[in-house]
């Protein structure tokens, strides 16, 4: 009688050893669409977003919760999020057997309506670097406040007030501009401002703007500050709201719980 299951191994195909052939029929997934639908959240915030309890990014910003999964941003902002690769540079590391070249991709994402993000990723292949950079950009997305230059007609189109951001030696100053002025800025920050959704702005920069890193970081810092500037609209006292974790607490405990407590006490007595 032939012995089923290996002689040495166990009966069932367990973990370890041979692992498994995919008898679940999972196989290859076609296209990227199914990947997105099959997102299984890893963080608590992700689970809340997947369950549909959080509907906008603003709720997350309000409580300063860290966004750790880019699918959260995908779900909340949706298809209006555009990304663009700003630059890809090869960087090399010297090894005994020549040089090891990797590519650093630099991506900016934004929906043109008040949200921008910037990401950088280095990888052996260009495609992987770009993909990784897009993900990192989505994770670092920030809200941008827009306001009016003069009459409050139509949608906000410019920065609400004069703001300035600094990084290293570079300071970037953004000044509200009337409609039709367009973005008056250098090439790289212009791109970032376009993604942010600012239509008109005058800028002025100082310092070594040749250092692109500091230059872009300064504009980012500037955009961050738009929501940090205290204007008379914010004079009203804040009504603190519950964080999403507290809000969706299922306080509807089982009714038997009260009885149980009594019983335990009786039993212990």
């Amino acid at each position: 009688m032939a012995e089923r299951g290996g002689e040495r191994g166990a009966f069932r195909r367990g973990f370890g050893g041979g692992g498994g052939r995919s008898d679940r029929g999972r196989g290859r997934r076609r296209g990227r669409k199914e990947e997105e639908e099959k997102w299984v959240p890893v963080t608590k915030l992700g689970r809340l977003v997947k369950a549909g309890k959080i509907t906008s990014l603003e709720q997350i910003y309000l409580h300063s919760l860290p966004i750790k999964e880019h699918q959260i941003v995908d779900l909340l902002v949706g298809p209006s999020l555009k990304d663009e690769v700003m630059k890809i540079t090869p960087v090399q590391k010297q090894t005994r057997a020549g040089q090891r070249t990797r590519f650093k991709a630099f991506v900016v994402v934004g929906d043109g309506n008040g949200h921008v993000g910037l990401g950088v990723k280095c990888s052996k292949e260009v495609a992987t670097a770009i993909r990784g950079a897009i993900i990192l950009a989505k994770l670092s997305i920030i809200p941008v406040r827009r306001g009016y230059w003069g009459n409050k007609i139509g949608k906000p189109h410019t920065v609400p007030c004069k703001v300035t951001g600094k990084c290293g030696s570079v300071t970037v100053r953004m000044v509200p501009a009337p409609r039709g002025a367009g973005i008056v800025a250098a090439r790289v920050p212009k791109k970032v401002l376009q993604f942010a959704g600012i239509e008109d702005v005058f800028t002025s920069s100082r310092g070594s703007t040749k250092t692109l890193g500091n230059f872009v970081k300064a504009t980012f810092d500037c955009l961050l500050k738009t929501y940090g500037f205290l204007t008379p609209d914010f004079w009203r006292e804040t009504r603190f709201s519950k964080s999403p974790f507290q809000e969706y607490w299922d306080l509807l405990g089982k009714p038997t719980k009260a009885l149980l407590l009594d019983d335990v006490e009786n039993a212990n007595a």
């Binding site: 040495r8 191994g9 166990a10 009966f11 069932r12 367990g14 973990f15 050893g17 498994g20 679940r24 290859r28 296209g31 990947e35 299984v40 959240p41 890893v42 963080t43 915030l45 689970r47 809340l48 300063s64 860290p66 966004i67 999964e69 890809i88 540079t89 090869p90 960087v91 090399q92 590391k93 057997a97 020549g98 990797r102 590519f103 650093k104 630099f106 990723k121 280095c122 990888s123 495609a127 993909r131 993900i135 990192l136 994770l139 670092s140 040749k210 250092t211 692109l212 890193g213 500091n214 872009v216 970081k217 961050l224 974790f245 969706y248 299922d250 089982k254 149980l260 335990v264 039993a267």
Partner: protein, 419 residues
């Protein structure tokens, strides 16, 4: 001597000594050598890694497919004890921090083919439901004297040779008729997890593992039934006493996690198709000019700190098979996929095996997707972890019953993500 830059980029070169200086100068101007790369280098290096087996949860095919005679790997529900008699008891069943009995998380059937004594081998993981205990447990796991540490996450390993007193030596047929050789010890009526050696004093037929569960069951439905059961147990043939048969017994507790079967697959098989269309377009985007300081500083500021980097690598790896809940790779060289860079144990933090003194080796890690499948609530005090890494005795030492192994929990840090 002008050598084309393209050739310089290609691998090995044998050059006479005099030319080296010239070349180095030219190299420095054209292509910057990035010193920061060393950190990334290790993370990208995938060639040395051992093959990883992933675990996915699925609803069980049949109601009997997760019984212990089928040697399942399962998550949630009640454990299918391998050795049904010598169950852990006493202090091993409860959380050391709050005293509540532990709840079954998952079990992995992982036999070792090299040894006769581990023909059947299962590792069980239990944890306390309370997040407060888990937070306190974090301090405990860092302590070096592990015999005295109080944990809220406990791991047990059990192994049996092929010929044993509990199961037949032939493989199970995979249908309803499979039965173990003997019914095991009776289990608690409330949790169905631990040994039920305490009786309800009234009816003497309901069994419990602890006072707490007796109290919970009393309030949740045993009280009205108790009288009836006490009457029926006085009859000569009371078959309600024997709760340890191979039949499926419903447990009274509603707080157990939903039951799933864990199916395994090699990691490489479940890779989704990466988009290859980007590859062609990007050759043109690669700029031939070198990288200057500006780019360097920019890249430094936006790549993020170590935690972010490790999280990004973690996400990338997971993205190949987003539904995985378990990563199995039993080897001394294997490195678990850490979600965070902080909170990792060093060699010295890992204890040795309690029983035989040999070092522990990484066996598997549990991922937080499992919480999603369990439908864990997302409020302030609900369970949430980044990864639970299980280390087991390298020698898989022998013995009767269940041996305690070591679990390392990594919680997600709450640091904000802004640049």
């Amino acid at each position: 001597m002008e050598i084309a830059s393209v050739e310089k980029l290609k691998g090995l070169q044998i050059t006479p000594l005099e030319d080296e200086e010239e070349e180095e100068e030219q190299k420095a101007q054209e292509i910057a050598v990035d010193e920061d790369d060393d950190n990334d280098y290790d993370e990208d290096e995938e060639d040395e890694e051992e093959p990883v087996i992933l675990g996915f949860v699925e609803k069980p095919d049949h109601s009997w497919s997760l019984l212990r005679q089928q040697f399942p790997s399962k998550a949630g529900g009640v454990p299918a004890w391998l050795d049904p008699d010598n169950l852990p008891s006493g202090r091993s069943c409860v959380c050391d921090l709050c005293g509540e009995p532990l709840q079954f998380l998952l079990q992995v059937y992982a036999p070792l083919v090299e040894k006769e004594s581990s023909f059947h081998r299962t590792v069980f993981v239990f944890m306390c439901l309370s997040m407060n205990c888990l937070l306190r447990d974090q301090h405990e796991q860092w302590k070096r004297h592990h015999e005295k540490s109080s944990r809220s996450v406990k791991v047990y390993r059990c192994q049996l040779p092929r010929v044993n007193a509990f199961y037949s030596s032939e493989p199970p047929k995979g249908n309803k008729s499979d039965k173990p050789l003997a019914p095991g010890a009776p289990l608690c009526n409330w949790c169905g997890t631990w040994k039920g050696d305490k009786f309800c004093s009234n009816c003497k037929s309901a069994r419990y593992c602890s006072q707490k569960h007796q109290a919970m069951h009393w309030g949740a439905g045993h009280k009205p039934q108790c009288q009836q059961l006490s009457l029926s147990s006085q009859l000569p043939d009371s078959n309600t006493c024997n709760g340890g048969t191979a039949a499926i017994k419903a447990v009274a507790s509603k707080s157990l996690w939903p039951e799933y079967e864990i199916k395994n697959e090699h990691e490489s098989e479940s890779e989704t198709e990466m988009s290859e269309d980007d590859a062609q377009t990007n050759n043109s985007l690669v700029s031939k000019s070198g990288m200057d300081d500006s780019m360097k500083s920019l890249l430094d500021s936006f790549e993020g700190d170590c935690d972010r980097k490790s999280w990004a690598s973690f996400q990338e790896r997971i993205a190949k098979a987003p539904e995985q809940i378990l990563r199995y790779c039993r080897s001394t060289k294997a490195k678990p996929l850490w979600p965070m860079s902080s909170g990792r144990p060093s060699k010295a933090d890992l204890p040795k095996c309690h029983y035989c003194g040999s070092p522990l080796c990484f066996e598997f890690q549990i991922l937080p997707q499992l919480l999603y499948y369990f439908g864990v609530k997302n409020d302030m005090n609900s369970l949430d972890w980044a990864s639970i890494v299980v280390y087991t005795c390298e020698a898989s030492c022998e013995g009767v019953g269940y041996k305690e192994e070591f679990a390392w929990v990594q919680l997600s840090s709450a640091s904000p993500n802004l640049p």
